[in-house]
Symmetry: none
Subunit: 159 residues, 2 copies
DNA sequence: CTTATTTTCATACCAAAGTATCATTTTTAA
DNA sequence: TTAAAAATGATACTTTGGTATGAAAATAAG
C-alpha cells in the first residue's frame, strides 16, 4: 500500500506524461476518423504535435530535473583567539618563579573574574587569592591586576 | 559585432532548436516524397515525432532553465593572528555605539592604567573617566574593567 | 538655529582590589 | 627527615573601582 503510494508520488510526472500521450493519440485517432484532419496540411499537423510535445518535454524536464546545487563557499573570517598559536613562555615563568597557583589565578584574572569568583572557582578563601595576587604583582613588577594581565599577555605567560 | 556574438551565445539553444525543427520537417517532407512514409501507420509516425520533440523539449528546458541555486554556506575558518595584524571591528563599534572617548579609555584600560592615570592622560577629571566606564560597561554588557578588556580583545575592539 | 548626542563634571555611597603582617599547613627536594 | 618552597588563611586597613543620580558645556546633525 505504502509502496504503491510512494511509487505514484515519485513517478507522478511520468504517469501524467503517459496519460497525456495516450489521450493525445486518442484525440488524433478520433480526428482521423472524423476526416477533419485532412482539412489541414500534414506540415501543420506535425508542427502542432511537435509544439505540444516540446512543451510536454520542457514541463517534464523542469519537473524531474534535480536542482543544480551550486555550492557557494563563503569565507567567514573567524578570529581565532591566540590560544591556537600561543606558545607558553616556560623559561620566563621559571625565571620569574611563578608558581602553578599563581599562573592559574593569573589566567582567571585575564578572563575577567573577580577575586571572589576566583576563590570560589579554585576552592580557596578570598584571603588566599589576595595573597597570591600580592606575590604575583611583586614577581611581575606591576601594581594592578590590569597591568598584570597586559604584561602577562605581552610576555606570553597567558594566552 | 560583439552584440551579434552576444545574441548568438544567449540564444544558442533556441537557434539549434529552430534548425533541428527545420531539418526534421525537411526530412519528413523528403520521406513523404519518397512514399516511404506510407509504409508505416500514422500512429507510429506521430509517436516518433512526439518522442523526438519530447526529447528536444527536455534538452531545451535543461539548457535554458536557470540552475536552481541552492546556496550552501561553508564557513571556512581563516586564521588571523590577532596580535600581529589587528583589524579593528568598526562595524561592531558602530553597532555597540561606542564613542571615540569610550574607545580611547578602553584602550588605556587594557594597557593597565588606573582611572586616575587615565584621567591625567586625557586631561579630564576622575569623575569623567568613571562615567565613561559606566557607559562602556553597559554597552559591552560587562561588570568589571577586566571583563571589558577581555571581551574587547576577543571582539577585536582593541589590539 | 535648534535639537540631539557626546563629553564633561560633581557628590555620595558601596563593593572590590590591593597592602601589610603574621601564621599554619602541605609539598617538594636535598 | 628536615629545610625550603608553595599554598593556604586571617585581620585590619587603604586605595581603587564601580553605581546612582543629576546636570552643564561642547559638538555634531538636521
Amino acid at each position: 500500500m505504502t509502496k504503491l503510494k510512494f511509487f505514484l508520488q515519485i513517478h507522478k510526472a511520468i504517469i501524467i506524461y503517459g496519460i497525456s500521450l495516450a489521450l493525445l493519440l486518442l484525440i488524433l485517432k478520433w480526428l482521423e476518423l472524423r476526416f477533419i484532419i485532412f482539412d489541414y496540411s500534414l506540415e501543420i499537423y506535425i508542427g502542432a504535435i511537435a509544439f505540444i510535445f516540446t512543451g510536454l518535454g520542457i514541463w517534464l524536464a523542469l519537473k524531474l530535473s534535480k536542482p543544480k546545487i551550486k555550492t557557494l563557499v563563503v569565507e567567514k573570517e573567524v578570529f581565532v583567539p591566540r590560544s591556537e598559536n600561543f606558545i607558553l613562555n616556560t623559561s620566563l615563568i621559571a625565571e620569574l618563579e611563578l608558581s602553578k597557583r599563581e599562573l592559574e589565578i593569573l589566567n582567571l584574572m585575564a578572563l575577567g573574574l573577580s577575586n571572589d569568583e576566583i576563590a570560589a572557582k579554585i576552592f580557596v578563601s578570598l584571603s588566599t587569592v589576595k595573597t597570591h595576587n600580592q606575590n604575583l604583582f611583586v614577581k611581575l613588577d606591576v601594581k594592578r591586576r590590569t597591568q598584570a594581565i597586559e604584561k602577562a599577555k605581552r610576555l606570553n605567560l597567558i594566552p
